[in-house]
């Protein structure tokens, strides 16, 4: 707007500077991913020669064929998908249920429940008491350790609640006059109206589940059937950092042909791609959701 009236030389120089700066930001952000993508599709012997940038020199699918032969990786993939889907469904439903009850001005227990929730944002028991709790609940070494401790996030409850507070209360009152009970109001009126904010927290929860590795490291490092994709990648990463190869007893022959470096890159892509496919479509929702959460806190 301002520019159309009168654009000085200084203005033009500044505009050019911004464009160059933004281009650099975009390149610096994207280059590592493209580089890894190129290596993952490149012949592993050829990769050792070095000098690969953003496109493969000798295209091959062998790296991917190799990693999909790893038993641990397949189990990890399955577990990561299950925990992401299940965890997101539970997380969204529980956050919205809790948020709805806290948003009802006439709810008796609203005050003390809000306090119970808000207090947890200021302290946490810490790593060791948390670990001992999981142990005494018998969750160590089970798949449930990914789901049960993550049923609810206080932050998400507050985000959804501030969204519900913005909806007209008259909708609920008229439904009540028509004889709807609280559950029906929640299920038939509130949930459908909350779609944008639910999309936001669903994204956050799903990304959290998909990306988490530390719970596997802490609670399930001895139970191979409960491994996750991120944890498998972490093991490859740390083992190649210290120089030893990632060995999977079921894949001894194929590992000889493909270098650990190429394997690492292929797994990185497998881990990253699902997120890449989702987040741009939800962008308008999460930008709003972020702002909502920040204003509230």
């Amino acid at each position: 707007m301002q520019g159309t009236i009168r654009r000085s030389t200084g203005d033009k120089v500044f505009d050019t500077f911004i464009y160059i700066f933004m281009a650099v930001v975009a390149i610096v952000t994207l280059y590592p991913f493209l580089n890894v993508l190129a290596i993952s599709f490149n012949d592993s012997v050829d990769t050792v020669r070095g000098g690969l940038t953003i496109y493969p020199r000798e295209f091959t699918l062998k790296n991917y064929e190799t990693i999909f032969g790893f038993e641990g990786l397949l189990v990890g993939f399955k577990n990561s998908v299950i925990r992401t889907v299940l965890g997101t469904l539970i997380g969204v439903l529980s956050a919205s249920m809790m948020a709805y009850t806290l948003s009802r001005p006439d709810f008796q227990a609203r005050r003390w429940m809000s306090v119970v929730f808000a207090l947890t944002m200021y302290f946490s028991g810490g790593l060791i008491p948390g670990f001992l709790l999981m142990k005494s609940l018998g969750l160590v070494g089970t798949f449930a350790v990914y789901i049960i401790p993550a049923i609810l996030s206080v932050w998400n409850v507050f985000v959804v609640r501030s969204y519900i507070d913005g909806l007209p209360y008259a909708l609920q009152e008229s439904a009540k006059i028509d004889g709807a009970n609280d559950w029906t109001i929640f299920w038939k009126i509130i949930l459908p109206l909350c779609q944008p904010v639910l999309a936001t927290i669903a994204l956050f929860i799903a990304v959290g589940h998909w990306n988490s590795w530390f719970d596997t490291y802490l609670f399930n490092n001895r139970s191979a059937e409960n491994t996750t994709l991120q944890y498998e990648l972490m093991k490859v990463l740390l083992s190649t950092q210290t120089g030893s190869n990632y060995r999977d007893p079921n894949a001894q022959q194929s590992i000889a042909a493909v270098s650990p470096e190429s394997i690492k890159m292929a797994i990185t892509i497998v881990v990253t791609v699902p997120i890449l496919m989702v987040y741009p479509f939800l962008q308008k929702y999460f930008v709003k959701g972020m702002t909502l959460g920040a204003v509230k806190s």
Partner: protein, 319 residues
């Protein structure tokens, strides 16, 4: 007269109690939707705080928590006498302070520049790209960082050599003196775009009339950025900044865990890693819990100090 009042009072309170239960029954669906989560939050957020007691004990997992040997402050005394603790504390504070300074200034500058951009398509694309690393796990980011910084063909070393800044590749990951910088830079790379969202939203909320009025008064672009845009995001900035100060000692350990290696452990070990090493890997639960308590207490103190300073300067409170 006296008994009569007693009777009416009693009747009144029974009535009140009845009304309470009547209303509770009316709201039974609301209770069904919330009570399970209240129980859950007691177990998973409040019970671990009860576990703080172990810090004052010599905790052995085979006995119940109240059936332990009490040792008073011994664990804390041992902690404060350990030289390693001070190295770890130094690393934690160094990395969190660097992260705080860089992690706030750069996203603000990024948001300012984005806000000044005219081409909408290019602006949108840059934004979308800049959010990408936020959604990627630290495991992946650590892999990318060590790939980019590697000595055989890492992009950063190649670029530096192409510019003739260095003759031989720099061993970034093997030198402790690089570690803090690497962690800060990786964090910036991952979160810059994401952290700018809130500042951009705050900028979008500034009244356009302010800009128009200052144009009439003959203010140039930089004056407007300095006198309108930046003051317009001040409150948002301060709220986020004070909340982050509370996290100075609890910065997490993912980055340090994944990017660190034995060669740089004198610079990469942070409080949480130290707690993890002693508390879980060596099964010294009481000592590990003591570290956790130190962490929490310092966090809360820092938030109150930061809020106090802010209150004194601006006469407003955040908490």
């Amino acid at each position: 007269m006296k008994p009569l009042t007693d009777v009416t009072l009693g009747a009144g309170s029974t009535n009140k109690r009845n009304r309470f239960w009547f209303k509770a029954f009316q709201q039974r669906y609301l209770y069904m939707m919330s009570l399970p989560f209240i129980i859950w939050i007691f177990i998973f957020s409040y019970v671990p705080v009860w576990g703080w007691l172990t810090a004052f004990q010599n905790y052995k997992p085979k006995n119940a928590i109240l059936d332990q040997k009490w040792v008073g402050l011994d664990n804390f005394i041992e902690l404060f006498q350990d030289d390693r603790f001070y190295i770890v504390l130094r690393n934690t504070l160094a990395m969190s302070t660097m992260g705080l300074v860089v992690g706030f200034t750069v996203p603000v500058i990024f948001a300012l520049l984005l806000n000044e951009m005219r081409g909408q398509i290019f602006k949108r694309s840059v934004q979308t790209i800049s959010y990408l690393p936020h959604f990627v796990s630290w495991v992946v980011v650590a892999g990318l960082v060590s790939k980019m910084l590697s000595t055989d063909g890492g992009a950063v070393n190649q670029f530096l050599m192409w510019l003739n800044i260095t003759d031989a590749p720099i061993q970034f990951m093997a030198k402790g003196s690089w570690f803090w910088g690497i962690v800060t830079a990786s964090d910036l790379w991952k979160e810059m775009g994401w952290n700018s969202i809130i500042f951009l939203a705050a900028m979008a909320g500034i009244d356009p009339e302010l800009y128009e009025a200052s144009t009439v008064d003959g203010a140039g672009r930089f004056r407007k950025m300095w006198h309108i845009t930046l003051p317009g995001i001040r409150t948002t900035f301060m709220v986020l900044f004070i909340l982050s100060i509370g996290h100075l000692v609890s910065i997490g350990f993912e980055k340090q865990f994944l990017l660190g290696n034995p060669l740089v452990s004198d610079f990469s070990e942070v409080l949480d890693l130290y707690a993890l090493k002693y508390g879980i890997q060596m099964s010294r639960y009481s000592y590990g819990t003591a570290i956790g308590i130190f962490n929490s207490v310092v966090s809360i103190l820092l938030v109150f100090i930061a809020n106090g300073i802010y209150k004194r300067v601006t006469k407003e409170s955040i908490i």
